[in-house]
Symmetry: D2
Subunit: 430 residues, 4 copies
């Protein structure tokens, strides 16, 4: 049976689900197809995702396809409790939810374990905690799993490290790496949701602020662009070299520079920033040495997956007083009189309640369309897939993009025969 914070919130949650559904036309088309073909008949799908309205629509779509669905949150603080309540009520035979906002680590893994107790055949992961759990705690169940999907850059980094160490035993589709996902979700989704959280939580003016964006991957460049769009003066920070990225930090830095941003080393940026947003996928990006030089009143938040990007323990250790002055806004009073603010405990600000409400609905329509079709693919290709991180097939990626355009009434021409021929021609020159 589902476990949520307050089942009586279901009516309000249902309104949210309905609103989300009305803005997820791609998932609707896919669900219509699923309902006819029941690709998941006899299969159990276990998920660890941010449990909120858009995720709810994905869960319902999978149920339409014949699956039994068990979902936990992928973060202790991002569940939308009214939506969780509505989902718990929706179709208890086929859909169970174990999630609430404000979990302890024990709560968190208890929920994950509920999902695993259902013996899922397909996993959908956001950050890789579910897959990790089954690999490390329940290796015996691995043989029941025909495949998995991973939603985030962070999760894929972990999975590739596992694969490199020879430990990954499930075929895992790299949903994050589909163009239909990262170009849109990471870039445009994270930007809008991060700005939304900042503005909503603090009511501060972004125009004129010196805003430091740590990490200039797809998330970072979206955030930088959005901040500039509202009048902030953006500083970008990158590292030298490559940590699990195709291009180097240098290339990212030059791109930022030529886009008109200032690019500074971390310490120089720390001294001048008024707002900091981390989106690196790495650890202790802002740390003691930076806190020591920050301006009084500086505001820090994180849009990366895990709450390790800002070294909160170090900040706490430096403070004479730590106080939540507004919902999810904690003031750290330092010995020298400065106050630094950290949002949502350094967890992803764009999803942490009540500040964040997650990505825009239409964005998740695209991302979850890739998830839904990837699950279907796993179902139909269960025999041919091997353990390891696998690209989402190009056909799925292109199909989702076509559906997004179609539902937005954008029409593209097909290339002419002559153009297709020219593309594989090499003798025609000057």
């Amino acid at each position: 049976m589902s476990k949520v914070k307050n089942p009586s919130l279901a009516a309000a949650g249902k309104k949210e689900l309905t609103w989300a559904e009305s803005h997820m036309p791609v998932l609707k088309l896919i669900g219509d197809e699923f309902e006819k073909e029941k690709p998941f008949k006899g299969l159990t799908i276990g998920l660890s995702l941010h449990v909120e309205k858009k995720t709810g629509v994905l869960l319902k779509t999978l149920v339409r396809g014949g699956a039994k669905v068990f979902a936990a949150s992928c973060n202790p603080n991002t569940t939308d409790d009214i939506v969780a309540a509505a989902l718990a009520e929706e179709d208890p035979k086929n859909l169970q939810v174990f999630a609430w906002a404000g979990q302890t680590t024990e709560d968190y893994y208890w929920c994950i374990d509920q999902v695993l107790d259902a013996h899922p055949n397909i996993l959908i992961d956001d950050g890789c905690d579910l897959s990790m759990r089954i690999h490390t705690q329940r290796p015996g169940q691995l043989k029941e799993v025909i495949g998995a999907c991973e939603e985030t850059t962070t999760g894929l980094t972990r999975l590739r490290a596992m694969e490199k160490d020879g430990k990954l035993r499930i075929p895992t589709l790299a949903v994050n790496d589909a163009y239909s996902k990262y170009l849109l979700d990471n870039q445009f989704g994270t930007a809008q949701s991060t700005l939304d959280a900042l503005v909503r939580g603090l009511n501060i003016l972004l125009a004129g602020k010196t805003a430091v964006v740590c990490g200039y991957g797809w998330c970072g460049r979206g955030i930088a662009s959005g901040l500039r769009g509202l009048g902030a003066n953006v500083v970008v920070v990158e590292i030298e070299g490559r940590l699990n990225t195709p291009d180097s930090g240098q290339h990212r830095a030059i791109t930022a520079l030529y886009s008109g941003y200032r690019v500074l080393d971390h310490m120089s940026a720390a001294k001048i920033g008024q707002v900091f947003v981390t989106a690196t996928g790495n650890k202790n990006v802002l740390r003691k040495e930076h806190f020591e030089v920050m301006r009084d009143g500086a505001i820090m938040c994180n849009s990366g997956h895990f709450n390790v990007e800002i070294d909160e323990p170090a900040l706490r250790a430096m403070s004479t007083e730590v106080k939540e002055i507004k919902d999810n806004v904690v003031a750290y009073k330092l010995k020298d009189g400065r106050t630094l603010y950290l949002l949502s405990e350094g967890r992803l600000v764009n999803l942490s309640r009540p500040m964040g409400q997650g990505h825009p609905i239409e964005i998740m329509d695209g991302s979850f369309a890739v998830q839904a079709l990837s699950c279907q693919y796993i179902g139909t290709h269960r025999k041919s897939m091997k353990a390891g991180v696998v690209r989402v097939p190009q056909e799925i990626d292109d199909q989702v993009a076509s559906l997004i355009l179609k539902t937005q009434n954008v029409v593209l021409d097909k290339p002419t025969k002559e153009q297709t021929a020219y593309a594989s021609e090499w003798q025609e020159g000057t």
Copy 2:
């Protein structure tokens, strides 16, 4: 002996070369190294590039490295005659140039042949005409060639088609595909130089104009962004599917859409555009059916490599009068009274004289740094390289990016040990 239009222009050309050199610090550092190490000692390098001041600095850098250098233009109309004159005079023993603006096709290939007569060991190509010529006309010389470099998306498309047909017999470094090249040159270089050409050649206002960008690859997105930066209302046109691109036209279209541009099919765009810029790498993108519906006074130009993107012969056939009304601006008077304008005969407007002056100097500093180091790589790896299109080694790509940042005084931090470790770690989760 070099052949240029007017050797007496050398003094003016020398000024241009000096100005360019003072803004190409990366090539300067590389040249200093070359001068010490003479990596090209005993080697002849043949080039087919746009012969203008930045190319001149590359040629001189290769000479510093001990090469004998023979250069032709890669386009009949892009040579800067004063620079060509200066280069011809520079160091006749080691550097010969065969190039002038306004060539016939016969002239063009005559120059290419002069370069091949020098029996080059390394080829540098821009659009692949030099490589094509040696493969088709002088296969006997192929064994003398240890490797080649290709500068453009267009050239690589041809080379990959050749490779697929089993015809490519030289190891060829895909210089275009280095991040240090396409992210900067294609995106930022083409944007600025295309706008420069348009504004300079026509003195028209871009603000308020409906500008149609055909093709939303790296060139197209730079051009779109630049046009918007000057106040144009930008419409993007893409195709459905993939013609030699990693992502589909659909993904490009959504990216354009979410960046705030309108995305339309070709015919709808043709009806409303006031300025058209093509950057697709394909053929007859604008053609009879589009000319028929365009607004009176519409202006068309091309920033793609070859002059096939706009179907000039069709336009000419539809016209009652064809007249060059300004340098490189041709008015096509149609039967129905409308006049359409085509710039630079549909050749790449950002390089065609006198309208275009090519990419900004600093951009070519980066692109040609990749060329210079790729040549060096070919020299030192001559034994291990096999025929086919080869990625530029990551070390070269990163090194050039580092040098660009260094010469711009941008400092990046290295990741901490902890961060490097975290990047290959997978067990640390929520």
Copy 3:
């Protein structure tokens, strides 16, 4: 005695006030001065403003200056009840508040009347309802009023119409028209708060949406710029001619056009818009004829002062079903099956609870600094001021701007003597 919704919310409201105060350094400096000089000793100030945290800081600042302060809301739906509770508790002898969210028109004027019952000597108005009320209902009290301040474009339009009709009997400072107010508050404040309300209330993606901005005054151009900053494709609508504006609609239209927006007539825009924002200060800007052609799912909201810009009664009359589907989001189901959405009943979306939380704090710091100093000016110039709309003195306007810069650590040079002389010199030419 104050009347608010729920006095027990005071503690939460106090947190909000504290947060706001920490981001209103200009008002802090002015309050410090007031506390020393007590410019309002013996004076009663009556206000009709949006009662929320920033306004609370203004009220407290006036109390610091020795005033007795009585405040009502200027809108039935914009009161932040937790802040109202905190203000009611703050200093009951000197500060009384009559405001709550969700008022009927009767409630609304009852609150206004409480303020007038206190026999204010200075009025601060936002939309002119307080001034209107005293002129029409309590002319006898007019002689007790030494002056007033008006915050909005809309209020000034009404006041100037009154003045033209010979009915305005109070000297009224046009606070809205101070550069320190309208350049910042109308342009940057309205933009951020409107986007915040849209995104927060709906969780929709702005990127890629066709967004129609009706009215291209300072509010409209800020909104348009912000929407574009988040990836919307913006269409601007203006009228021909001048309705209480220095420049004509034509000039605004050309400025919008040359800024890269599309400019369309209302009907053409109605057909393509997905999101509509009105900011005209006029009436029935969107009306039956436009509702008839809008796309299914179109979303409408208003950022102008009064709820007359979108003809809600007409929309209601066209509908077969009217239903609040989320807080402050009403769906109008039309006979032909389309659904249109109206936010916050057409009241200013950026302030209507719970969607809107008003302008960014720092913006109101500037606007209310003008209010505070204008009140002080009224106090000290009570004898010399005549009935009518009066410009805010340039010294106040410049002083506030200087304080804003100072608190943001921006330093400007003074002109040199030579430059000052040159500015009044005319004989030095070519």
Copy 4:
């Protein structure tokens, strides 16, 4: 008889005039009207304007209206000699031109004097030199002059200083201050033409450059926006206080800040800038103390009217070598080894030949439409106008804006009766 550099260039100049005419539809419509009504019959118009193709179209338009026209340049270096040649040939009985590029100060005033020798009845001035000359050297002719028009902010500053000193004896229409002029010409025209000059003259990359804009009036904000549009990182410099501006430097500074630019004092900006553009209308904005701290290779240019904004004599005095390294690019080699570059001797870079080609054609169509109609107004109101600086009548300003929109096919709705009524209504409130 006209005096130009080389009459044989007329054919080429005619091509330029024809191109310009085809993009000046507003002036065409006005000229058609003039041709019918001959408003200037019997009148002589003397002009001092930048003599290039767009000005040529204005001159021809005035001739169509029946005027005898005599034109000199308003700057020693901005004449387009090929256009001047074409104009000299055009209609010698009614149109004479005295202008060439590269004049000495003596040449310059000789040309002005030729115009005055024609005993003009109406003056059109750009920078006020013509009006100044007649006031100071030929006061006897003042009674023949029925009115004048001034094109620039700089000229109006001089005229208002004259008026304040009681020396202005001609009614002078402030053409610059018409919305149809300064909103478009100063903001969008100067931006595009300044960028064009920079890019064309130097071929440098703007992306990633730190660009300092001195002065944030309408010219400055256009330039800043254009630079950002091409990827520069823009720093704005302003002064504290007001020198002939409605708003203070503080207000301009905050607007720049909230638009996302950095705002710095002059000295801080001088230390970091790579490109400097002045547009202040004042003197010695960049001077010795700034040159002393600038980065090696810094580039300076001016887009303000007079060549006094950058203190060239001081720069020269500091230099060990001064050398023109390219057309209109002078390198100043300083004692400490740094080299600074000054473009076009500090004259307005966007008009100085060969770098600048002036504003976009469509912009001048609007500005010169105001000039043409203002001249007509002077003709018809000669009796009622008094000496002094006079606003351009609102009807002319609005008419030009309407014509611009009309020729761009933009349709605006008229306000409804109800809306017009509402705009003068004050009793309707909440």
